[in-house]
Amino acid sequence: MKEKTDVLQGTLALMVLKTLDVLGSLHGYGIARRIEQISGNLLAVNQGTLYPVLLKLEQEGAIASEWGASENNRRARFYRLTREGRKQLRAETQDWEQTAAIIGRFFQAKAEDLS
């Protein structure tokens, strides 16, 4: 019953949204590859973890999916961003940047800055 709401999953969802925003409609493997390319190790051994995230996003209405043909003419499920998802991406990007900035300032702060 417990949901996985750790940072990894949260960031993963954001990555998926951004990927679909940049590249348009894409199947699961494509998304995994793309995230791998950019983030390096994050999905190195665990591409499978992507699918529950995709399902969650789809249930939330941020992405939609339909069957299509992949480059090697296999049947594959293609995901694309919905209007809702775009809105969510914008909001979350902003949140993320804000959070990152704040955390960044904390990490940069030295003892003398606080006195």
């Binding site: 699961g28 591409q47 529950p52 939330e60």
Partner: protein
Amino acid sequence: MNSLRRFFARLANLATRRGQDERLKEEIEGHIALQTEENLRAGLSPVEARRQAMLKFGGVEAMKQDYRAAHGLLFVENWVQDVRFAIRSLRRTPGLTAFVVITLALGIGMTSATFSMVDGLIFRPYPVPHPNGVVTLVSTTHDSSFDDFSYREYMDIRDKTKSYEGVIAYADMEAVGFSAEPAVMPRIKGGMMVTGNYFHVLGVEPRLGRGFREDEDQVPGRDAVVVLGPAFWRHEFASDPSVLGRRIRLNGTEFTVIGVAPDTFPGLLTFGHPDFYMPLAMARVFSTNLQKNFFEDRDDRELNVKARLKPGTTLQQAQDELAVLAKNFEDEYPKVNRSRGAAVYTQFETRTREDDNWKFGVIFVILALAVLLVACTNVAGLLLSRARARTREIAVRLALGAGRFRLIRLLLTESLILAALGGLAGIAIGYGVIEWFHSKESIVFTNELPASIPFHMDTRILLVSLALSLLSAILCGLAPTLQSTRVDLVNGLKSAEGDVPGRKRLWGRNVLVVAQVSTSLMLLTASFLMARGFQHSLLDGTGFAKDHLLMTSFDPRLIQYNTAQSQQFYKLLAERMRETPGIQSEALTQNIPLGPDGFDGVAFVPDGFQMAPDRENFNSTMDTVDEGYFVTMGIPILRGRGFLTSDTTDAPRVAVVNERFANHYWPTGDAVGKHIRLDSRAGTSVEIVGIAQTIKYQSTMEKPMDFLYMPLAQHPVARMYLMLRSSGDPLQLVQPVKDVVRSIDPNLPILQTRAYEDLYVNQAVKGPLIAIDLVGAMGGVGLLLAIAGLYGLVAYNVSRRTREIGIRMALGAASSDVLRLVMGKGIMLVGIGTVIGLAMGFALEQLMNSMLFNAGGVDILAYVVVVPSMFLVTMLAAYVPARRASKIAPTQALRYE
């Protein structure tokens, strides 16, 4: 919002899970295929390419779990699994399941039926909008905390109080002669006089036409308008909307129909439902006290007063205000308001003070809860032994890694399903019991006014039943569940009989049996006591002769006779009846003993009795009778004389009192020849000329009460009963009576003609039997459950100790030793249960005595009969399995399991 959306998506997915699994499988395969191709392009061997792809994808099964968790609602799925499993395992033991369901159904059904009694009698809100604001105003005296107000008093209350949005008044529902057409002979219907603001203040919108206007209640006798009750409109006018404006005749006077009350408003009364409502200003047409002037006399107290509190006004403020007003009354009218107060009651206070019917309801709820408790303990016991039989199954589950919480949930689901089934069947039983009550309506309500038993299986009771089911599920499910999941794994896995009987465990079972034996003993004692008290009251007799009596009644006001005409009619009637063959004697009386209507009260001051200075007068019940009454009814005159034809209007006023009355006020001297003054010290003087034997007046179970008779000639009453003592079958007199009445006035309706004994049986025998049947049924059910429980316990013990018994017998124990071994425990439990049950039964007897019978003392016979028979029956329940144990062949027992 997102999470809500997800929830529904997941809920929807529950149904389509298989399709979703397929989709995931396909996606995974596609994913791995794509990765494999990429690896191939990178130069790996086909086998290695696929292996690497799969490695990179990660654990498929773990991911699938995550996916499913995200996909559906895991807990709902689990729960559905639990339910399926529970149903399967319950179906494996159909006998036990059926027994448990029936047991719970009996308990829940009894309880919900009795709850509907208490709800109908006390708690159900008035059928008006915002019922909580409606309060009851009552006049209070030394003897009564629930007296009525007079018309003048009502006017003062209405005009001089500020706590209320409106103050209404209504007279008791009374018999009114109704005819739709002038030529038709009137029939008796129930009419209620109300104030002009009645519907308006209560917030009741008529479904048709309008309610009364305030000005329709201002000039006595001017506005002859009537509002019909919903049921009356349906039955009498076939729901005809054109009834508005129609003229109908009530007691011979023409009234115009102006409205029909809505179906939601059957009236404010608990039992009665008025057929129609008339404005109070028309009081002269209806039965008000002939001795007084309704509109003027401040002591003609015939009105019930209710009011709607202003929002923000507290009950206390209203009470204080009314208390001041009552004090003013007392100062202004010392003659009629001496030491008279007033009080404001909430609905609850009103219903619990008005009469004592609700006490029956409360007693029944207590008894029913006891049955439910027995049922629950019984079921808990059964589930406990079942849970023990499942020790190994549970142990295996725990060993395989099932969480304790999950197991508890599984087992609780089982008891929940049992309770749900029991609850459903219980609702059916409750419905049946309520219907049974309704089938007794003709016994309970013997007069002609419309009334019904206010017990219904409505939403409120359904909710109660539901709550009871849930409660019993927890009650009987939790203990066995917690215990069975606390299994010692090693022992549990080793053998099916894995439990080493610790003291604690058996203690629980023993308590169950003791509780059952004691509660059912208490119930049986109660029903036996009730039956005995009832039998006593019948054996005591009523004090008068009930056989060979024909009764019938007349109300000459129905055809607009005035007082003198009525008196003339009754005189003629008595004379002509006397000449009719087959009649030994005849009598006229305002009311009949043990009849459907209550007796009137009379206020008086006895001569030479030391009265407390703040006391205005005393009260007694009374009847108005003619000179033939005491002879016809067979009531002995102990001293002095009965009434004579010479006791006319012109002669000095006389009265006859009963023996208790005489001893009450003149304990030393002879009451004959003494005087009382009516109403107050300055009232009319009445001489007591005779003392009649005390009889049963209102109920066969009543305590002896003061009673006073007045002669009809000196105390005219419009509505009278004619009582005829016949030499043969009383019903043969029906036709002669009709002929005589026809010869006097062919238009006069003859009301309710029947043999008195028939009425008596209904009123005095069948009525109380309803209550006795009910308690007896509860006790019987309780005993049945206790027997089953005890049998189950001993049988279970025997089966658990089969091997031990075998060893004992192999070592030389005789079968009688075994019998003693197994029975010993049963005897002990029954013994303890009996002692506790005795104590509880004794306490209940005290309670019943104080609430109902006023018999006092302890009925030894009840215990002498109930206790040994209870003991015998329960011992039999223990004996049967014990006997079986003693017949065990040692060889077989040692091989067992």
